[in-house]
Structure formats: structure tokens, C-alpha cells
Amino acid sequence: MREPHVATGPSLAVEVAGMRLQNPVLSASGCFGWGEEYARFWDLRRMGALVGKAVTPHARPGNPDVRIAETPAGMLNAIGLQNPGPAAFRETILPRVHSLGIPIWVNVSANSVQEYVDLCGMLSAEPGVSAIELNLSCPNVGRGRAEFCVAPDAVAETVSACRPVCRCPLIPKLSPNTTDIAALARAAESAGADAVSLINTLVGMAIDVDRRRPVLGNRTGGLSGPAVKPVALRMVYEVVGAVSIPVIGIGGIACWRDALEFLMAGATAVQVGTANFFNPMAIPEILDGLETWLRRNEIADVREIIGAARLEK
């Protein structure tokens, strides 16, 4: 009975919060624009879902430069959530990406519970929006970090308030700049989250020793890329053990082996961020690599390896 599978190829489909995704490889918010740029390199219809750049309650011009800095196997960014705001998003961007025919997750970022609720209300029922990712963690804009990522009760409050108004799956995205990521995830779950995604960036800094000042205009920025992968993987492993909703793994995924590590840690799907920047073909190459690996290991369904590296005590 294995033959037919091998002939048709392994199944890469997964289910997240009631949504069927044709495969578990998604883009990470803020690292893929709204897809247009990468559509010039490969056929976006191959990806599991497209997670777009954060939308905030009002248009934001973003931070003054310098916005990015390279670090060992990573990068810092302090883009400052540049985006045209929800109205422009709905009218000009969404119709365009909707026409791609792939699931679209909208990442929303705000400074108060009410703003999050408003954004969910405004965007979650729009045609083309498959899920809302609640960015509870942006470290580059004022009080964002202190307010929404630190305390489990703040996470719970935001998620509970959004849940009733959100007409599609609600997926809080957690910050790694915390003592206890599992507590945040549990708070999100009990407040009604349909899944959680993690990690957002670690707060970091670089100093320009020639100019004797921080490299970034914003002083600090968010660290991402391969450098953070071990921290992200550990947090995903911890959170998978702490909640029973699906976990989306993010952080430093650059090749199919990395994606496999997260799936084996128990992530139901993964998001690819910074890797798109240094390799525009990152997502399709990861998909090819996963498929080849499954085939070579005679695994008919990717779901068989989700959590495969978990050692239960």
C-alpha cells in the first residue's frame, strides 16, 4: 500500500485551527511584504499561507534610518511597523493578495486592547482574510513590549477581548523577551486563542564603534535569523508541551532541516522570515527539501513527524 503514496508524493497538508493548509510552510510577518516582491521569483501558490506585514490602527511612516543592522548569523531591525493603515490595506492591498488564491493571515499590532479589538473587528470578516495573527510583541514601538508581551494576564485580556469580535481563527504571536513563554501560551489558550505563533524577535542592539553610537536610529531592534533558532526551537518545544492548540514555529528557519526541527519539536506549521531576505528562494527550497526528505524516509504524511523528537518523560 506504500506505492501509491510514493507515486503521488507525500502529503504535506496540515490543519491549523480548522484551516487546512496545503503545506506547513508560511511566510513570517514583515519578512515577505504582501508577496508581490517574491512573486517575481517563484509561484506563490506553492506556499501554505501568506502572513503579511503588520497592520496598525493608523498608518505609520516607520522609524527614521538606520533601520537594519547585520549581526553574526542574524540581523536587527527597527522598521517601526511602517504600513498604510487598515483602510488602505483593505482597499488596495487585500484585494490584490486575495486574488493570489492562497490563505492570507493578517498580522495586527496595536497599543491598547481596544485598538486590537477594533482591528479584529475591521479586518477579520474581510473576504480573503483566513486568520488574524495578533502581534503581541513588537519590541520597536514605544510601550508595546512592556504592555502586551510580558504579563500572562495582559495576553489573556487582549485575547479574550478580541475573541468575540474576531470572525476567523485568532492566533496570538508571542514575544520571546519573557521569563516564561509557556505561561504566556497557556494564558492565550485559556482566553480562547485558536493557535499560537512564536517567536517574534529578541530585543537586541549593535553599536557602531567608529561613530560611537548605536547603529540603529531606534537604538534597539529585533534580532532575527539563524542566530535565534536555538532559542525559538526551545520555546516552541516548551509551548507544545504546555498547550493543546496548534503551535506555529518561527525563528531562524533557513533550510528544510530547520523546518523539520520545528515540526519534530511539535510545531504544526512554520513561518520563514529573515531567510527570504538572504535567499528569495527559501520557501520553495524548504518545501522541496521537506518533500524529498519525506519521500526518502518513506513517510507518506508530514503529520507523522510532527512532535517526533519529543521525549515524553
Binding site: R40, N77, N276
Partner: protein, 262 residues
Amino acid sequence: MIPILEAEVLDHYEVAPEHFVLTLDAPPIAEQARPGQFVMLRALDAWDPLLPRAFSVFHADSEGGTLSVLYRVVGRGTGRLRGHEPGMYVRAWGPLGNQFRLPEGERVVLVGGGVGVPPLVFWAERLAALAVPMEIVALIGAQRGELLVGLEQLKRARVTFRCATDDGSAGHRGYVTDLLPRTLEGKRATVYACGPMPMLRAVARITEATETPTELALEAPMACGVGACLGCTIPRRGGGYARVCSDGPVFPARDVDWSLMP
């Protein structure tokens, strides 16, 4: 679609101290490349340095399928690039960004400093090859005479050029922009400039006063090079930010908000 390939290094030689010309076998990029555009290059298989680096197209031979860039070894990115001998491969994608627009007026003035010269040489070559004859003057600056690059190519394209060096070891002693006001006298000109930010600022100041149409090829720290990361922005006159990689790298000088530039 934008070509992305593992491109073989065909040639890699020093043109001036710490300045190298790297030639790649990259037919699809070479064919599409236009003056002002750039390519992203990255060593295969290592995550440090992580990000690709942008290099202006210095020469593109669409028949031979080769693409050349001229770069200076500055830091870890270019240091790593320099280790690529012929026969080795780099990942290359492009061409990216917009291109120089055709000139207005009777005279074209190119102002290049340091490794800002390469895109202007490519532009000079393409302009010189046009059916319409036009007067092209290049002003080329560097720290020292031995660091002046692209002169041979300009000669071959029969482009008049004048040089400036910080120490006076070749041409004018001082800034290349010192030569600009006099060059603009007389005929109506269009200016194209690429080089360090203080040079570009000076060019913009001079040509704004003379109302000379001016295009600047800018640089900014880049992550993606394709418009996705919003990392490479410059302040736009009138508000907001423009991406150097995809709204540029070529901008009319008047579109830049110089008061907010670093």
C-alpha cells in the same frame, strides 16, 4: 521573473588597491541589466556574514552572458566575496531596482566618487552607444590617484572626464564636486551622480541652485534588496519614506528630504 542563480566566477582581478572587478557567468541577469540597476550577491552556504550585498552593475555583456561588478573591500561582506576564485560560485539575483532616465538638454554630466563610479561608467557606455550623439562629461573622484577607477572604460567609450583626488595626487586637489559648477556653465545639462552621501548632498545643493535635473543613485543598508523588508528607506521630500532598493536606487535629487538624511 527575476533571475536567481548560482553564478560561476569567470574572472576576478584587482583594478586598484583593494578594488576588484568580479565577472560572473549570468546570462539572464546580463541580458536584462540596465544602468543604475544592481545585483545582490551572496556566498553559498554560510550564515555569517548573513545578508547579501548589493553591487551596481558595472558592465553587462548580454551576448557573452557575463555580468561585472566593481567593488572595494570594506568589511566582512566584501572580504568574503574577494575569496571567490574563478571556478567558484556565488548566488546572484537581479537586476534589481530602477534605472537612470534619459537625459534632458545637450550635455550629460556624470559625477562619481569612489565605488560610486561603476554604475556611471555603465551608463556612459550605453549613452555613448546611442544613435543620438551627445556631450558626456564625467567627473571622477577618489581619495588618491591610484584609487581612480573606470577611467579606461570611459576612454574606450570616448567620454571626456576630469578627476579630483583628496590629496591632489591626480587631477584637481579637493572634492570632485568642486569641478561641477564650472562644468554646468553654458549648455543645459542633466546630472547623474553616485558616491558617498556628503558628495551627493553637495551635488544636490549645487544643481538645485542651478535648477539642473539631477538623478542620484543612492545606497542604504539593505537586507532583501527587493522591497520586502523596508530596511533601506530614505526620507522622501513631502513626507514618508522611499525604499532605495525598489523605489530607487535612482532618485531625482529633489525627491530626497535632505534635512532628514543622516
